[in-house]
Symmetry: C2
Subunit: 458 residues, 2 copies
């Protein structure tokens, strides 16, 4: 009933940018997640902030759930329409509104993807650094507080978003932040919406911080006798403050997967991939020091490249890792899990996780943005095998608890969604209840992406 | 009545760490501000988080205002007990709880000052970079989202606080953040309390991000023919991404003030002070490039020093600027005001401000952390001269409006307090109302530092 009325009202101004067709609803019922699909009742494609505001007014009046949808690459059931409602697909809001290399700022719509943005910026000598392994939207990345391979040098979305345009549950529009580099003007609303996973408001526009293309880039790779030495080398590199722009770990299984998937001939052992940005002098200096450190940890064959095509070939390994790993067990589902620990605890966290997975019946390669103390296990579960799924969930839960015991967090970058809801109180104590209070203040009828992130009534 | 009862209850466990004596109350009625003193009814000196929790339970039960007090160096009336109540002086909570150079982390109590912290860290090869011009407490710095001369390189409190222990209005204790470098685990409560100016909770402990002492430090100074060239040089340095660790501007009046105050012989013209951190090679490289840029802008006599005593002599100029400037008009009050603009608008903002002050009857040197687009005017007002005070307030207000018109913010680092309350709606629109909603959710009885930052009832 409410749905029918809303559909009529929404159709009046959205024209053909609204759908109730089953295939469309199914497409929007999940994301890259192990959760079962839960389709919305309606999908809409707004084209600007005012339309989003109008949609929100209708939905809040009708008490209908609203689920913002970016590229649907989130991994913890974030976009599932657990309680039905209206899915807001941001794909048509994909414009760059302004580029300002003088202030190192770009203003973009939330449905733009990071690859589209960097494609447009490439001739201007600037780039946007945050690069999750999927071609996510900037709005989705803001909403999950995403990070990536360059976060060790340039920061995550937290450091690279200067301001947002947000539509609140009742349709009011606010602009947070400014174009200035810093501010002490009241509560940090920008930071509040970063990581809020669509539960506090709809991000329609972002003011992003850009970075200058480095004069020189050098990428390198080296092989380690075992996981402990690779991770030990990372700890030393970070602790001494060596200016790496990227430092990524892949384990032996990932190396094997990559050889199978892409026909490369990597040694089937743990590797570090690294990159340096700067002047030719500083890059050489840092790369040489890196070479010495990894040698001390038993690494062999540290190769590096400055030419773009060689560097790109090297980083393909990392960027295709997820799909390569999935091909290890054709047809399997992946439960990808993500924790982050203080750098001093990285070796312990990785090794204990390795041992835990080896003692299980599930293949689970480990890889990650180790410079931040952040890593993932990709647990490969035979389709329609509830026993394996249950086992994988227990492994993932133990990883999260291990992270907490070591002073870390249950998720370094993927977020909470539904998958980590049951661990939030353990991490945050009363702080989780406080998140619920904030949610209620901003969205008293609980229409924004219900069922995610905050404590659930009942 | 309520005060008497509260005094009795608080005395029962605070012993002699509570006072109602008039001189003590007066000492806590203001800060480094142009606002008239408004003393609290009671001052207490808690010694740990549990005591703060106990105090908050009593005050929330009695509906008494609670005003946290760090070093009292804030500039916008932040610590004024506008509605009386209990001042929570954090001075006895000044311990370093743990130092962990391996993770580049220190855990400290909120009443510790930044100088005390760095004094303790000096032998460990690490330091905490955020350095407001006064010896503020880490809790006060967090509560104002403070920054300083090194923010252009190392960030402000926003980038350098990993987590907090906070006592909420009702006495509940929460711990935000973790020891990991990043997290996507729910709303960013750490960021919410940073800059909340004591209106959302009492910060009792902080987890801080430390940085390695650079291998080499080079500091330099150069003189410019006029303000426009100095600021133009800054814009170019920042836009090309040159890795400065500090870049500070002082105008000719500040230079003159310093000569009078400290007996130096600076040329009485605008200057830039700069510093580079890194390896000897990278520092030399950056300093050479800087030398070329400033020469293009007409600067003369770029001198630099790497020895600690020479560098310290140089930075004394900047660190004593506030007191030197005050000595230009003995006995005068200073209204220090603070805006921040996008770097491309810096020259315009500074020059328009200069012209505006010159057309007034008030002396007002300009100086600032220009690498962030942030600068201050120190307006010197004859004591007990309401006309000059009114004129100064209009100048300050015009600076804020100018910052907004240029895409910036009404305060880069000093915060809102009472002084900028009337400009918040202009900057944030509905966002300011949203700050009020968050305040009400966290502090429904409005006991935490009432009269500051958020919209005021009635
Ligand atoms: C192969 C692979 C590799 C990955 N690697 C990384 C990685 O390195 N780092 C990392 O951080 N993540 C990674 N991820 C996870 C995912 O890419 C990120 O979470 C990403 O930020 C999601 O963006 P999206 O556009 O796909 O958002 P969606 O999945 O569509 O949505 C994510 C959440 O944000 C909300 N949302 C989306 N748009 C908006 C908006 N405009 N306003 C408000 N809320 C909104 C949604 O409701 C949902 O809760 C990876 C995923 C895959 C499949
Ligand atoms: C000469 C001079 C130079 C300055 N230069 C700078 C500068 O370069 N950069 C800059 O950012 N600022 C600067 N300031 C302003 C001031 O030093 C900062 O605002 C500083 O962060 C205030 O810290 P404090 O300990 O003095 O806090 P206070 O003045 O005591 O309090 C500030 C605010 O924080 C609240 N507060 C204090 N402690 C806590 C706590 N534990 N929990 C919750 N709330 C708390 C108070 O209630 C108040 O609202 C300068 C001031 C002076 C006088």
């Amino acid at each position: 009933m409410a749905i029918d009325t809303a559909f009529t009202e929404l159709s009046s101004f959205l024209g053909d940018r609204i759908s109730r067709s089953k295939p469309v609803l199914d497409q929007h019922g999940g994301s890259e997640t192990h959760f079962a699909s839960a389709p919305p009742d309606i999908v809409v494609w707004p084209e600007n902030t005012n339309e989003v505001s109008r949609i929100l007014k209708i939905c809040s009046h009708a008490g209908l759930p609203v689920i913002p949808f970016g590229a649907g690459t989130s991994l913890e059931g974030h976009t599932s329409a657990a309680k039905g409602g209206v899915c807001l697909d941001m794909a048509r809001m994909n414009q760059i509104l302004s580029q300002d290399p003088g202030d190192m700022i770009a203003q973009v719509e939330a449905g733009l993807t990071r690859e589209e943005l960097n494609h447009e910026l490439r001739t201007l000598g600037v780039f946007f650094p945050v690069d999750p392994g999927a071609n996510a939207t900037l709005g989705g990345m803001a909403a999950t507080r995403a990070s990536g391979t360059t976060t060790v040098r340039y920061g995550s979305m937290r450091q690279n978003v200067l301001g947002l345009t947000v539509v609140l549950a009742d349709g009011r529009i606010i602009r947070t932040g400014s174009r200035a580099a810093k501010s002490s003007s009241g509560y940090d609303l920008t930071a509040l919406f970063l990581g809020s996973e669509g539960t506090l408001g709809i991000i329609t526009e972002l003011t992003l911080r850009l970075h200058g293309q480095p004069e020189e880039i050098r990428a390198g790779i080296c092989a380690f006798p075992d996981m402990g030495s690779a991770v030990g080398a990372v700890q030393q590199v970070i602790q001494m403050g060596l200016a790496v722009a990227r430092i990524e770990f892949v384990d032996e299984t990932t190396a094997r997967a990559f050889n199978q998937y892409a026909g490369t001939e990597m040694e089937e052992c743990p590797h570090l991939l690294v990159e340096f940005h700067g002047s030719p002098t500083s890059v050489t200096e840092a790369s040489d020091i890196f070479g010495e450190i990894v040698q001390d940890f038993g690494a062999t064959g540290y190769e590096h490249a400055t030419k773009a095509e060689d560097r790109n070939a090297l980083w393909k390994i990392r960027h295709h890792a997820f799909y390569a790993v999935q091909s290890l067990r054709p047809g399997a589902h992946a439960l990808v899990t993500d924790i982050c620990v203080p750098i001093s605890q990285l070796a312990k966290a990785v090794e204990d996780t390795r041992a835990d997975i080896e003692a299980s019946s599930i293949p689970g390669p480990i890889l990650g943005h180790v410079g931040d103390g952040n890593f993932h296990a990709i647990l490969l579960i035979a389709t329609d095998n509830p026993d394996e799924m249950a086992e994988a969930k227990i492994l993932a839960e133990r990883m999260s608890r291990r992270a907490l015991a070591l002073g870390g967090t249950i998720t370094g970058e993927h977020g909470v969604g539904m998958g980590k809801l049951h661990l939030m109180e353990e991490e945050h104590g009363f702080g989780w209840a406080l998140m619920g209070d904030i949610k209620t203040a901003l969205d008293p009828r609980n229409i924004l992406n219900p069922g995610k992130l905050v404590p659930q009534a009942g």
